[in-house]
């Protein structure tokens, strides 16, 4: 477990290093994720390895790690209440439009390029 966590922290660190040195506008962990993906591909890493075990354990509780930032909502309940209409409509509206835009664009391009689909309930 600790070996796997050490690898994950090391890849996060590498990601932080790359974003800082190359002055990228993305967070270190996102770059760390892409670096780890390349590493796992190149090594043909298998499921019994420590990284997979530790990472899968962390991912099972991904929601927990958002709680400290999410509780920050208590600071803004007043503002959110006062501006409930624009906030609510802008959030829901743009969420829905974004969801439809991504999903439909991806499916339409698959069809246009004649690529195989990967539908639920077929594989």
């Amino acid at each position: 477990m600790i070996a796997g966590l050490t690898w994950l922290v090391a890849f996060q660190l590498a990601g932080e290093l790359v974003t800082r040195v190359a002055d990228l506008p993305v967070p270190g962990p996102v770059v760390g994720m892409l670096l780890l993906f390349c590493f796992l591909r190149l090594r043909r890493y298998d499921d019994a390895g420590s990284i997979v075990r530790a990472g899968t354990a962390l991912l099972r509780h991904l929601q927990l790690f958002f709680v400290p930032a999410g509780v920050g909502v208590v600071l803004y309940l007043g503002l959110i209440g006062r501006e409930a209409l624009p906030i609510g409509v802008a959030m829901l509206g743009s969420w829905f439009l974004g969801l439809a835009a991504v999903g439909w664009t991806a499916v339409a391009l698959e069809r246009l390029l004649g690529r195989p689909r990967d539908d639920l309930g077929t594989a």
Binding site: H61, F65, A69, Y76, V89, G98, L99, V102, G103, W104
Partner: protein
């Protein structure tokens, strides 16, 4: 008339209740409650552990009169793991890498289209309904993962901690109704479903998808990363036209 020693004991107890250890315990306990409720409800979409935990902790720190800043530093230990967990999203993707074949072009185009639609529609809808300028700037980034939402909102002149809150609220909302909405939109391709959820609701949306199907979860994680990149690059460009 209360005995002064009872009063003193109460003060001591209250002090313990406000200690970092107790705040950590409330957070972990709230999360366990959320998981228990999720199991009891047979995995009902409405019972997302993160939602239950935020409500429990929010009530607890309000009743105990703890400052959010104190709560935040007490739970740094928990927030820390968001970084390594984000890195770990490479794992489902690695296991599903074969499914990337033939999907790279649709994926990249869809992410860029989605980021533009999400940013522009959030700003214009907020403006149409009379939100202030700083609120418009804060809503623009809500589809991004929290560190990106914070950083980009800061550069744009919004309210960074509120941007994180918006990102988490929309993440929870998406975890609840996202899959059902995709069904309504008749989007059945698992890669496209994961991609759409990850693009509009980052890690929280991805965590719901991971529970349901590894392919959906893997593409949600990837979409979170690509959208983080797209949103950070596109917001400064779109800001020139929007503001």
């Amino acid at each position: 008339m209360i005995d002064p020693s009872v009063n003193e004991a109460l003060d001591q107890a209250l002090e313990v209740a406000r200690s970092p250890l107790a705040l950590l315990a409330v957070t972990l306990g709230g999360y366990q409650l959320g998981r228990w409720l999720q199991q009891r409800s047979g995995g009902h979409a409405l019972v997302q552990p993160v939602l239950v935990t935020v409500v429990v902790v929010g009530l607890a720190i309000t009743v105990l009169d703890v400052d959010y800043a104190d709560y935040r530093s007490a739970t740094e230990l928990i927030a820390f793991w968001l970084g390594p967990a984000t890195v770990a999203l490479a794992i489902p993707l690695h296991r599903q890498a074969d499914r990337l074949r033939g999907f790279v072009v649709p994926m990249l185009v869809a992410i860029v289209v989605g980021a533009v639609v999400s940013i522009v529609s959030a700003v214009l809808l907020a403006r149409a309904l009379g939100a202030g300028d700083d609120l418009e700037r804060t809503l623009a980034t809500k589809a991004a993962t929290t560190p990106v939402a914070i950083a980009v909102t800061d550069a744009l002149g919004g309210i960074p901690p509120l941007a994180a809150v918006f990102a988490i609220i929309i993440g929870i909302f998406s975890a609840i109704v996202g899959p059902a909405t995709l069904n309504l939109l008749r989007i059945r391709d698992r890669r496209a479903r994961g991609l759409a959820i990850g693009a509009v609701s980052h890690g929280i949306g991805a965590s719901r998808m991971l529970r349901e199907d590894e392919t959906e979860g893997a593409f949600a994680g990837l979409a979170m990363g690509l959208s983080a990149l797209a949103i950070s690059l596109l917001v400064p460009v779109l800001a020139v036209c929007l503001f």
